[in-house]
């Protein structure tokens, strides 16, 4: 890293903090602090929704995902536009009509206090932990690649944004997210342009896509069907994307306060709906663009030397371990294949331009074989990596940043690193604001004596600060527990989302079902979903199918609706019996 890169990073981050403080002026009451006095236009709502969803790991992980698994990850977002439409028809009018501060307030209105408190508590638990992890996940990658101290990386990643989030609440969060997204898109566009520019002069953008396509990276649409039928454990295909992705997006945008809080800041129904519908239009093309960068990086490494692992700290550690001779042998074999691959790729492009189909097909088969061989070397290195270090051996999240570090020009490298912080800040700031609003509205204000508006405003700022410190502590704690925690917390989130959505769907669509039936159904289905997920670990549950986590959202949501429908008549019958026992005629 050069001085210029450091200047770019510091200037970008400080300008966001200063801008956030400049936009901090707000009315000193709860509506001003948490909902920006409900005066945001649709385009700010849109950018705020996008900035909240796109975390640092989105920009780090998506190109790496495309590099290793191809473009099919984009299907994960196919259910999102449909969910936006359903939220506009059902959720938004109700939230706006009731003038709620949090999504969970509505549940007390529709059911009872226990359902509201349980749902809000689940949100706080899940969002608090996942925000801590969303600080830790990019920090560990940056600290590993650049040798930075993890504590200070965590503090900058999760700490500086607290200044403007505490000071300006939802208004500061929305305005900084707008500026952050503009900088992020400019930087990502420059990165994409640079990758194409760095390809050999005879290789065009289309040639790069063609090479990647032949290696299976342009698998944008996949059916999930194998020789044995539909694979329920396949994470990304058109069906899991449209159906599972729909329930996940419906749950996230309709019931997660970190998103609901964004569109509640809108001036009215129209601005909320427009913000959400525009998100439905732009989200998939945006993800497609980010994934394309990963495919271009893959093409770039077909012509250039790629590392045996993109986690350079792991390679360095393996090279000084007792396995260093084995590592050097692997490295030698890997480099030799890479050289052959590079020459064959150039020949392939040439054959394609000459329209020599037979030669093209032969080279394509050779390239596939060579890629399989390099993958075999990488797998062997991962096995050694697991023995010598507790560092992450799965280097998918390291691909893009490793490329940035090794190949991008001075200045742009600093900007790309800065946008990782900005992307993290956008989602973390919204999460802190929503954690504070749920704590204040669903617990503090609901269960304590009435306070003045000014006192509530100051208490809300305090809660934002406390949640900020809590999340940094979680990030620091996560470092001690190792990498598996990231996956664990992500899975934990998917275990609860479906059931929470189910509670809201019962509230909206099943008018005859009351609070107690919903509460019991939620508990039953939650236990079932957990069993379904852990079926492989528990011997007596092995008869249950092995399914991908995306389907759990649909099962949880539909399960709560079905079970509550079955339970409600039983509760009614029980109540009638109890009434009959207590009635005066029976007493006589």
């Amino acid at each position: 890293m050069t001085v210029i890169d450091w200047i770019v990073i510091v200037a970008t981050l400080l300008s966001i903090v200063v801008y956030g403080l400049y936009k901090s002026r707000t009315t000193k009451n709860l509506e001003g602090y948490f909902l920006s006095n409900r005066n945001m236009p649709w385009y700010l709502v849109l950018l705020s929704i996008m900035g909240t969803q796109a975390s640092a790991i989105t920009f780090l992980s998506a190109p790496g995902q495309a590099y290793s698994d191809g473009m099919r990850f984009v299907q994960y977002y196919f259910g999102l536009p449909i969910a936006m439409v359903v939220i506009c028809i059902t959720f938004v009018p109700i939230y706006n009509r009731l003038k709620v501060y949090t999504a969970y307030e509505y549940l007390e209105n529709r059911f009872d206090i226990k359902t509201r408190t349980l749902t809000s508590f689940l949100f706080l638990l899940q969002r608090g932990l996942s925000t801590g992890i969303s600080i830790y996940a990019p920090s560990i990658i940056l600290s590993s690649l650049f040798g930075w101290d993890i504590l200070w990386t965590n503090i900058v990643m999760g700490g500086l944004l607290i200044i403007y989030t505490v000071s300006g609440g939802a208004r500061a969060v929305a305005y900084t997210q707008k500026l952050q997204l503009i900088i992020i898109f400019i930087a990502m566009f420059l990165a994409g342009y640079t990758v194409v520019h760095l390809l050999p002069s005879s290789v065009s953008f289309v040639d790069a896509l063609s090479v990647s396509g032949k290696m299976g990276k342009m698998n944008i649409i996949t059916s999930g069907v194998t020789e044995k039928g539909f694979n329920w454990n396949d994470r990304y295909n058109i069906w899991s994307g449209v159906i599972g992705g729909f329930f996940l997006a419906l749950s996230y945008f309709g019931t997660d306060q970190s998103q609901v809080g964004r569109y509640l800041t809108a001036q009215n129904n129209r601005e909320s709906k427009l913000g959400l519908l525009m998100n439905g239009l732009v989200k998939i093309p945006m993800q497609f663009f980010i994934l394309s960068i990963g495919v271009l990086v893959f093409a770039f490494y077909q012509f250039n030397h790629s590392p045996i692992s993109f986690n350079s700290a792991l390679v360095a550690e393996a090279n000084t371990s007792q396995y260093k001779d084995s590592v050097q042998l692997l490295q030698h074999g890997f480099d030799s294949i890479n050289q052959i691959k590079s020459a064959k790729t150039i020949s392939f492009i040439q054959a394609e331009k000459e329209k020599n189909i037979a030669h093209q097909n032969a080279l394509s088969a050779d390239l596939k074989l060579l890629n399989q061989q390099t993958e075999a070397y990488r797998t062997k290195f991962k096995e050694i990596g697991k023995k010598v270090s507790d560092k992450d051996t799965n280097d998918t999240n390291y691909v893009f940043l490793s490329f940035v570090k090794d190949y991008l020009p001075i200045g742009l490298k600093g900007l790309l690193i800065a946008i990782i912080f900005l992307a993290a800040w956008g989602s973390i700031a919204a999460a802190l604001n929503s954690l504070a609003s749920s704590t204040m509205i669903d617990f503090h204000k609901r269960f304590s004596a009435r306070e003045s508006s000014l006192s509530e405003y100051h208490t809300s700022k305090l809660y934002t600060l406390v949640w900020g410190i809590f999340c940094i502590l979680i990030a620091q704690f996560a470092h001690r527990l190792g990498n598996s925690l990231i996956e664990t917390v992500n899975i934990l989130g998917s275990l609860f989302y479906g059931v929470i959505l189910g509670i809201f769907l019962v509230a909206f669509y099943l008018k005859n079902v009351k609070g107690t039936a919903t509460f019991i159904a939620a508990l039953i289905v939650e236990v079932f979903v957990v069993f379904l997920f852990f079926n492989e670990q528990i011997s007596f549950l092995k008869f249950l199918p092995d399914i991908s986590f995306l389907w759990l959202n649909a099962i949880g949501a539909l399960g709560v609706m079905l079970v509550s429908l079955c339970i409600q008549p039983m509760i009614k019958q029980k109540n009638r019996r109890a009434e009959a026992l207590l009635s005066p005629s029976y007493s006589k």
């Binding site: 506009c88 396509g213 944008i220 058109i238 709906k273």
Partner: protein, 41 residues
């Protein structure tokens, strides 16, 4: 007056048309992605 202003939609006449545009665009994207997949594989 406030209600009238709120009801006015940009570009399209009703919310139903907006919803159709969002779903229609999704279908178009899926078709385009399918063609891209076929072309480059």
């Amino acid at each position: 007056m406030m209600d009238n202003q709120q009801d006015k939609l940009p570009l399209l006449k009703s919310w139903k048309q907006w919803y159709a545009v969002v779903i229609g665009f999704l279908i178009l994207l899926i078709i385009a992605f399918y063609l891209l997949t076929k072309t480059f594989s």
